[in-house]
Symmetry: C3
Subunit: 136 residues, 3 copies
């Protein structure tokens, strides 16, 4: 019997509904959909890192990573990243940022699998990412 | 060696293709995308619970829950809920219904992670939800 | 401690960014989003199997299957297939192709669960599929 635990990094505001930013049970860790919100400031509404795809993508990665680390995992444990973009024309630029970011993460294990699709997101948001990790 | 079993609640019509409403293998249970269809009536086409987001969301939750329970799981075992809406303007109302529903479910474990994105669905459907559970 | 391994079938071109076509760790195998690209020809850009939903769907299935098999799995191990279509009007035809294809695969275990949603994809692509498998 493994206990299910919620993962709530100090940088993250409370979710807008009864869900967890991340949950871990046994060796499975699931990260909820993250967007480019800056670290939460108490008493203020969530603020996006910037209007550009680059700013939002890097902040989204930071937000996913914070949950992984709070749950005892790292990028090396991630099996799947789901990338939601709002615009097909952002694919090439997202891939550039993706490669640059993961090139700097000193991964010791193979890169995660990935699916990228184009959906609607709330106004002002260009990217959302969630992750499934399996720990060692 | 764990056996893979299909989960088919009595309330559910046969899927429209060769997939299962739910499958379990070992401690992993996957619920297929559920929509707001009322309990199946033999010989009749699936009927949606109603035109409103509230009616469809509550029925969709009931349909997910029926699969979890038929597979020996509960909401407490759910790691991830994927919520597909057709309209960004439905986000706030869906969150209200979500909180109300889970507030009544007497959860003993932390809430699941969640991703919400906005996609196309067949005409008349406003919400679809799938779930990944890890049993205790 | 299970090792995480990348799965790269000989038929597949290098991914367009730092992600893996498939990864396996312990008994979990994740297949990245696959589209209808024909087997890779060195020095040439990826080419889609054809303009029709049928051609692309069958090629996409072949691409998913190649990753499953390279990772030591089969369709019988698949728990979840996520099907992304670009057009709601393709649902019925996709289901026909789906049933025909899986009817020929001699499955020994129950069919996987499935979610189908309608999203944007890069120009010329009508379908994308990813898969989560749990090995025996």
């Amino acid at each position: 019997m493994s206990e299910k635990t919620a993962i709530t990094p100090a940088t993250h505001a409370a979710p807008p509904a009864r869900f967890s930013h991340g949950v871990r049970k046994g060796n499975i860790l699931q990260v909820a959909g993250q967007v480019g919100f800056l670290p939460a400031v108490e008493g203020r509404a969530p603020e996006v890192a910037g209007p550009t795809l680059r700013e939002q993508t890097l902040q989204t990665f930071a937000n996913v990573k914070a949950i992984l680390e709070e749950g005892g995992a790292s990028w090396d444990d991630v099996m799947m990243l789901r990338v939601y973009l709002t615009d097909v024309d952002h694919f090439a630029e997202m891939n550039e940022i993706y490669d640059e970011y993961f090139g700097e993460q000193n991964l010791k294990a193979p890169a995660a699998a990935r699916t990228t699709v184009y959906v609607g997101l709330p106004p002002g948001l260009l990217i959302e990412i969630d992750a499934l990790a399996v720990l060692g």
